[in-house]
């Protein structure tokens, strides 16, 4: 089981690395889907099958499709690829790599530092999640629905003029 976890983790890390380094948006998105699927597996291993399913359906499914759709709409040609090559010189990587590396090291140090290992309990039932979701967290659910509504209205409003004036 731990082996499974390590494999999934390695896949996720490598795939994510590919995402942020790739020049082609569509390829990057496909790598991201792979990474998300790996994380979904980890969710399953951590005893959260419901969330794993949501990760696949919503993240890897809906949201990524949205991205791909936008990339297709933008219709980016080889010009963009050249531009990306120009933008992504090796020197660009130094400062962000240092920052992110330091942050990651700090976090890893915190997480692994000293205390006795915390092992995961046997997982949480979907029923339990549902009970507290529509029990104590009801307000949060409502707020989330309002947020989605706002996102819907906002996206509609911002994207409205696109088709008419674009070309």
């Amino acid at each position: 089981m731990v082996t499974l976890f390590f494999i999934a983790a390695a896949v996720a890390i490598i795939a994510t690395f590919m995402v942020i380094t790739h020049l082609e948006a569509v390829h990057a998105l496909l790598h991201l889907v792979v990474s998300l699927l790996a994380v979904a597996l980890i969710f399953y291993l951590l005893g959260a099958p419901f969330i794993a399913a949501l990760e696949v359906i919503i993240y890897a499914g809906a949201i990524m499709v949205l991205f791909v759709f936008v990339v297709m709409v933008l219709n980016l040609g080889p010009l963009t690829r050249e531009q990306e090559t120009r933008w992504l010189r090796p020197g660009m990587w130094v400062a962000p790599a240092i920052l992110s590396g330091v942050l990651a090291l700090e976090l890893v140090y915190v997480l692994l530092g000293g205390q006795k290992p915390l092992s995961v309990s046997s997982g949480v039932d979907v029923k339990e999640v549902s009970h507290s979701l529509f029990g104590p967290y009801l307000i949060a659910v409502e707020v989330a629905s309002i947020l989605l509504m706002a996102g819907l209205v906002g996206a509609y409003h911002i994207g409205r003029g696109w088709k008419g004036k674009a070309r």
């Binding site: 890390i13 959260a48 949501l54 936008v70 992110s100 989605l148």
Partner: protein, 103 residues
């Protein structure tokens, strides 16, 4: 389940993914890639929540993840609409092209 995954490992993975996402945000000038990197960071945060929830056997972590998911959905929809508008205005996806606070 005989051998269980230590929660630290999952958390460390979340930290690594988060750092990678951060590096992506900082290094890319293409707004589309910045949005993608933001998704990576959100997902990493969700992973940390799930791991913590699993460690304590409480449903709260998963609920938080659901809320993060909702946030991510709203953020992506608005963000992509902005990408489209940006491209329409500037004919480029360069984020630095939009450094002036005027249309």
């Amino acid at each position: 389940m005989t051998d269980q995954i230590p929660a630290e490992y999952a958390l460390v993975l979340a930290a690594i993914l988060f750092a990678l996402g951060l590096a992506g945000v900082l290094v890319r000038r293409n707004i589309l890639f910045i949005l993608i990197s933001l998704e990576i960071m959100l997902n990493a945060a969700g992973l940390a929540l799930i791991a913590a929830g699993a460690r304590w056997g409480e449903p709260d972590g998963q609920i938080m993840f659901l809320l993060v998911l909702a946030t991510a959905g709203a953020e992506v929809s608005v963000g992509l609409a902005l990408v489209l508008q940006l491209y329409k205005q500037f004919r480029t996806l360069d984020i630095d092209a939009a450094s002036r606070m005027k249309g």
